[in-house]
Amino acid sequence: MTVIEILDIGLAVLVLGVAAWTIAARELFAAAVGYVAYGLLLSLVWVRLFALDVALTEAAIGSGVTGVLLITAAMRLRGTDPPQASEQLRPMVRVAAATLCIAIAGVLAAGVLMMADPGPTLAPDVARHLGETGLGNPVTAVLMAFRAFDTMLEKVVLILAVIGVWSLAADDAWGSVAGPRPLAHHQGPLTFFAQLLPPVGIVVAVHIAWVGANEPGGAFQGGALLAAMAMIVLMARVVQAPAVDRRWLRVVLVAGPAMFLLIGMIGFAVAAGFLAYPDGIAKPLILFIEAFMVLSIAAVLPLLVIGPPNRPQAGPP
């Protein structure tokens, strides 16, 4: 057994241990924190699977943004756990549930062990057509060209989620803003951090999005980083979120999918059809779309995290 294998096993045990702890944790808050740690460890697993794009996404979204979301929720729901007596389960039910879960996990594990190696793959197809996209990162090529439709829809999903979240506002809060109020006097380390970090973050985000064409990274990862900057600024109460009925906000929200659709439709006229890119300029077009997607993602993620508008619009006190 090599050192790497031992490390792999250790990592797997750690991941499962943290996952189990997340389920068993007595406090809701602790469970949420456990989940963040779990997400970070999981992105290491993705690195070990040579899936760097996924690792980045998992770290940014799976643990990062989701973590903020869950921790905030856990804080606000303090005291709602443990549940009422009526929801306590009989041990029999637990045993039945455990049996079913072991069955499922067992079947899957058997499937994993029986899996053909090398397994069926589309990698050669991707390699064959990668040149036509002008991109170097095959994952980006799949996301932005071969399965562009999925990616476009995924952005629509995000927007629909924003609408869904907003639809939960109280009627009289519509048109107002969400999240904490900005502070009158900026002070403390958090403010400092929030003022210092965004410039760096923006540069890195643009970099990640840009290199995504050829190396690990891309619009989503870049957008997520940008979103993180926005969330830090919001959390530090340096600025407040824009009101939900701002037209520019809406435009930014839909910019990504709208540009995707637009260029997709232009494909009808000048290329092989919907979502097809004309020969030779595929890469610039893709980068162009990605730029808009970065914007949209950077707007969507913080909006999803801070939730529906919840107070009448007001300036700093």
Binding site: L89, A96, A97, L100, C101, A103, I104, V107
Partner: protein
């Protein structure tokens, strides 16, 4: 001819469409009497000429009129028309007229259409149309008894539809060509692997409709609850949807002894049971309802014997008998309405006419009823079945006398408001039709006057009436001491049994409550995944 048949079917629906416009609504009742006339004309034309069959592809409907269909259509249209006359006047004195008119027109189109339908789906549709909307007529009075009657009626109707649906599906499946025309389907039926199932289920469906014992309970409740014009058309014409069903869907040209005799036994039992319970009723409408059970029993017996023997003249005989019943029963119900608005001495002419019609049901010589009885003589034969039929005629006579007595006693006590002329006209029209139309039909079906007036025939027709008439005074004298049985007799028990089935509902509700808890549902989800995976291997 196509146009006439189609008009006959659609005329009521056109009137219905007129109800959509509030401004036209008040005028619609006046047209109720006119709506059935195209169908009547079609029936007369069909009787004149040979049977016709037409298709209305735009309605996905095939229509046909043969002799039995035509005579039933004709007399039913007549009754509906006269009933419409009565109803128009009745509607001036009641509320919820729109509901009544809509239900009347729907039932009318179904009730007439079912005699013309020539394909399975069309027949099923028109049969449903003849049955379900009648709820609105039965429950017209908006009081608990009417609601109960309507509910029970609907339950039996829906049950009958379910049996028919399966029966029809089996019938259709038996025809390898995939045709849905009744003629094709029935031609293929003897070779069908599902012959027995198809006949049984279809027959059960129609038995429910014509109310043979033990599924008769809805009939007395419904007819007693319905307003007079509705009771008249439902008992006269409506229930014949079941009779035409038997005529169309029993394979008379291939003998089915067991099924046929079973039907005959059920029929005869109903014939006597109806009389026996009817005698214990005091409301005239209930008495008539039990008489209907009895008369439908006789028809079922005739058709059953015909099926058992493979006698293909049974349908014609049955239809002649049924045609008389359409008019006679309709007339007697109208008589109830007329008498209820007439004070004692002035009831005499009505009672006289009613007596003729009522005794006609028992087969009084020279009346239409005698001809009806003559018609079923042949399929029943002279054996046990023939004797039973004669005895049931005697029993019917007894029941009719009972009815007449109860009818006379139901006359109004206080001088009522003036009875509408339409009531009288309608009643007299149908009564006279009951007496004389069977003559026309009899002659049209190649009967001769000599055969009716022969002394032997006269005696055959007379003796059961005489027996009934002889027994009647005794019943009138002492019968009132017998215990009264509530209308619907076994219905109370059936309802109790049905109510006890509510426990199943309670249990299922509890189970649902448990299944819908999160852990149970989520475990089910996982279990389904596991079991389904295993099941595909």
């Amino acid at each position: 001819m196509t146009a006439l048949l189609a008009t006959g079917l659609l005329a009521p629906l056109v009137l219905l469409a007129a109800c959509l416009r509030p401004a036209w609504r008040p005028a619609v009742p006046a047209w109720l009497a006119v709506a059935p006339l195209p169908a009547l004309a079609a029936a007369l034309m069909a009787l004149e000429n040979d049977p016709v069959a037409v298709e209305l592809p735009w309605l996905r409907l095939a229509l046909a009129l043969d002799f039995p269909g035509a005579i039933l259509l004709g007399v039913s249209a007549l009754l509906w028309s006269a009933g419409g006359l009565y109803a128009a006047a009745f509607l001036k004195r009641t509320t919820a007229t729109l509901r009544f008119v809509v239900c009347w027109l729907l039932t009318l189109s179904g009730s007439l259409g079912v005699f013309m339908a020539d394909d399975l789906v069309g027949f099923y549709l028109l049969f449903a149309l003849a049955s379900l909307p009648a709820y609105g007529l039965i429950a017209h009075d908006d009081e608990p008894t009417a609601w109960r009657a309507g509910a029970i009626y609907t339950a039996f109707t829906v049950l009958s539809e379910a049996f028919l649906l399966m029966g029809f599906v089996l019938l259709a499946a038996g025809d390898p060509t995939g045709s849905l025309r009744i003629g094709d389907v029935m031609a293929a039926l003897p070779q069908s692997p599902w012959l027995n199932g198809a006949v049984t289920l279809t027959a059960i469906g129609f038995v429910l409709k014509i109310g043979l014992v033990p599924v008769h309970g809805w009939m007395p409740l419904a007819y007693a609850a319905a307003p007079v014009p509705a009771a008249a058309v439902l008992s006269g014409a409506g229930v014949k949807a079941g009779v035409i069903g038997f005529l169309r869907f029993l394979p008379f040209d291939s003998a089915m002894p067991v099924a046929g005799e079973l039907l005959a036994v059920l029929g005869f039992f109903s014939a006597f049971y109806g009389v026996a319970i009817g005698l214990l009723q005091s409301r005239p409408a209930s008495v008539l309802a039990y008489s209907s059970i009895s008369q439908m029993g006789v028809i079922a017996a005739v058709l059953g014997m015909g099926l058992a023997a493979g006698n293909d003249s049974a349908p014609i005989a049955g239809s002649l008998y049924a045609a008389h019943h359409v008019l006679a029963k309709g007339a007697l119900f109208l008589a109830i309405g007329v008498i209820a608005m007439t004070t004692a001495p002035r009831t005499a002419p009505t009672l006289f006419l009613a007596t003729l019609v009522a005794l006609g049901l028992g087969g009084l010589p020279l009346t239409g009823g005698a001809l009806a009885k003559l018609a079923i003589k042949e399929p029943l034969g002279n054996g046990l079945a023939g004797t039973l039929a004669n005895l049931s005629a005697a029993a019917t006579t007894l029941l009719m006398v009972h009815f007449l007595v109860r009818l006379a006693r139901s006359a109004a006590h206080e001088p009522p408001t003036v009875i509408p002329q339409a009531f009288l006209l309608s009643w007299r029209l149908v009564a006279l039709a009951a007496l004389f139309v069977p003559w026309l039909l009899y002659l049209a079906s190649s009967g001769t006057v000599q055969a009716v007036l022969a002394p032997g025939a006269l005696w055959d027709a007379a003796w059961p009436v005489v027996i009934g008439a002889v027994l009647a005074p005794a019943w009138v004298r002492w019968g009132s001491h017998m215990p009264r049985i509530p209308a619907g007799d076994v219905m109370g028990t059936i309802e109790r049994v049905f109510r006890s089935s509510y426990a199943i509902g309670v249990a299922m509700e509890r189970a649902d409550h448990m299944l819908r808890r999160w852990p149970a549902a989520a475990c089910s989800l996982v279990a389904i995944a596991v079991v389904l995976s295993a099941a595909t291997i």
